[in-house]
Amino acid sequence: MSSVEIEHSITLPEWLDTFIFDELGANYAPDYVRYEFNLDLTKEEVRTYLGTYFPRSYTESYCIFDNLFSNPKYYSIMQQKSEISILDFGSGTGGEIIGLLTILSKFLPNLKVITVLAVDGNHDALRYSTKIIEQFKLHCSIPINYTVGPVSIGDCSDVEILDEIVQNSFDFILSFKAICELISKQRITGNAYQYVANILSPKLTETGLITLLDVTVRNNMIGTYYPIHMNQGLRNFLNELELFKTLIPLSCHKFEDSCKHLCFTQRIFKVSHSRRINDVSKVSYRIMGRKEFIQAIIPDFTNGKFIIQKKNGINSYCPYSVGDNEINSFDINI
């Protein structure tokens, strides 16, 4: 049995639980599978999305950034900042934004302002996200400037328009479970992860990080699983544009220059809330940044067996692993 655990569990904060389920009327529907068609959700469906997917996105974001800020090198750099800016592409009801904001208020309570631009085509989802942000402000001493970008992506030209409009640089760029929808609806030609990374990564500040996260199911249109498609697209992106580098998974960071494999990377998060104990979320994600910055914060680690997923209690490892020492590819604090 491995001593390294890549699963992570948390409980939704009580105020957030009460607000989304009791105030906003969110519904938890465990059988509800609609992540690929969020743009078309009706208001009622958005409430179901809010009850089912929002807590999961919150958890994923909370855990990912909690791990990141627990890294002393990263923390010491971020501590010098007085302002933080966030872009969320396909923000939906804003679970990942609230997760990140919670971490920022925990680790950087003296920030002067946090600026958020939330881009999504579903207006009902954006309205819910705005209400949740207003509620979050009551639990956070940092001023938050929250702007919505209510635009739908019909094709590549729309992304390019958005690229032109959004001229700022961001400390965090997020896209959680949004690119799968662009793929399902065939909105983007070519590999959508590569395309989005190409467009959004240049908008990172010198110390900015982009996190692309998606579901791990198979899509018949692309003939493979989303994580494999993501890893393929992002490897192309990184090979073509040498300015950027992977931070997480650590195995990709270490071997991406010469990697020939298309791995199925997956991490499991569990969230407990008033409607469900240990609701499971399976996702694949990649965190990238500018090469110099990534080199500055990456911990020293030797070779080992890099865990890239856990299935039925059994770990899978990066094919380039060497030795017996198990390393959690998703943990920057090894």
């Binding site: 208001k43 631009l117 881009v119 085509g121 207006h123 954006l126 309205r127 702007t147 919505v148 970008g149 209510p150 635009v151 739908s152 019909g154 030209s157 729309d158 328009i161 958005l162 032109e164 409009i165 959004v166």
Partner: protein, 345 residues
């Protein structure tokens, strides 16, 4: 132009406005509730594409064309037609911009598409009230017809939340309040013992408050029509115009009993404008009066009342005699300003 529209183009939601601005190489369908800035965006879009190729702008009525004339002049736009005018010419253009597209039938939309290489439609199905020529095409169907996604406008800049709350109930429309960004006074409900007393009260309010941007919106054009359809000739633009004239109150009016009585509205004048709910479509006033709200209308007129109510940028006055129409909540409802609130105002 911004003063006239209450909506400063530069203050519209930045991300979405820029997004719409940048789309010039493919057709687009923009929708938004009353007061979301559709027409302002449509005109700026027209200005933008006018530099890129031939263009035509179609608005539904002659009144709307006149209403827009200042804005159009300021933007240097010339090729503007009201529908019947356009129909006679049907110029082939690269860019076609159609405002209030929800008031056209599928055939009319199709016909328009045939004359424009790239078409921009602006409309709101909730305000679809001109079904004289047959069933109208929803904005969503127009988007489907030309094979694009509908771009809904996110905010409402004209309506105050207070007026929107009442409009939602009357129009049986959802989510208008959520889109509003402004607060204002609650609508006032005015009870008087007759239609004439209501009109006297309207004159009094206009004078006491020195109101200079007023719409008085009626259900019928002429006394004859009002009499034959509702049994009360006073529910007409014609009657209100005559009553005000007798009282020495100058008004702008528009109804088409005959050429002698029809007048083109002068939107530069500060005189109150009297017209039908339908004629007010697409227009905006700071203060809107809806007299004769005791009258019970058939359900189909609900949307027209909603359209009339949503013409206001500031204050809304609902006057009635006897019992308020069932379209409206009871006069004691908290959606209306209370007597105390009115005194404070």
């Amino acid at each position: 132009m911004e003063d006239e529209f209450f909506i400063d183009y530069g203050k519209l939601d930045q991300v979405q406005r820029h997004f719409i601005d940048k789309k010039t190489n493919k057709s687009m369908v923009v929708t938004g509730s009353a007061g979301s800035g559709k027409s302002v965006i449509a005109l700026h879009k027209a200005k933008q594409v006018s530099a890129l190729g031939s263009y035509a702008i179609i608005v539904y009525t002659k009144t709307l064309k006149k209403y827009f004339s200042d804005g159009l002049k300021k933007l240097g736009l010339a090729n503007v037609y009201y529908y019947n005018e356009w129909l006679k010419i049907k110029p082939q253009v690269k860019y076609l911009i159609v405002d209030e597209c929800q008031d056209f039938t599928a055939e009319q939309i199709s016909e328009m598409c045939n004359t424009g290489e790239i078409c921009f439609f602006f409309g709101d199905t909730e305000q679809s009230i001109m079904s004289f020529n047959g069933p109208l095409q929803t904005v969503q169907d127009t988007a489907n017809h030309i094979g694009v996604m509908m771009e809904p406008l996110y905010y409402n800049y004209r309506l105050t939340k207070e007026n929107a709350m009442l409009a939602e109930v009357v129009g049986k429309v959802e989510d208008v309040v959520e889109k509003c960004v402004r607060n204002g006074e609650k609508p006032q409900v005015i009870l008087k013992d007759s239609v004439d007393s209501q009109l006297d009260e309207i004159v009094k309010i206009i004078k006491n408050k020195s109101l200079s941007n007023v719409g008085i919106l009626m259900p019928f054009n002429t006394k004859k029509t009002a009499n034959s359809r509702a049994g009360n000739m006073k529910l007409s633009v014609e009657y209100v115009k005559e009553y005000f004239t007798q009282k020495g109150v100058a008004v702008e009016f528009k109804y088409s009993a005959n050429q002698d009585t029809e007048m083109d509205l002068d939107f530069h004048s500060s005189n109150p404008k009297v017209m039908t709910w339908w004629c007010a479509k697409g227009l905006q006033f700071k203060d809107v009066f809806i007299p004769c709200s005791e009258t019970t209308y058939e359900e189909q007129k609900r949307t027209a009342v909603y359209v009339a109510m949503t013409r206001t940028g500031e204050r809304l006055y609902i006057s009635y005699s006897g019992k308020l129409s069932s379209f409206f909540p009871e006069p004691t409802n908290g959606l209306y300003a209370s007597t105390d609130e009115i005194e404070m105002i």
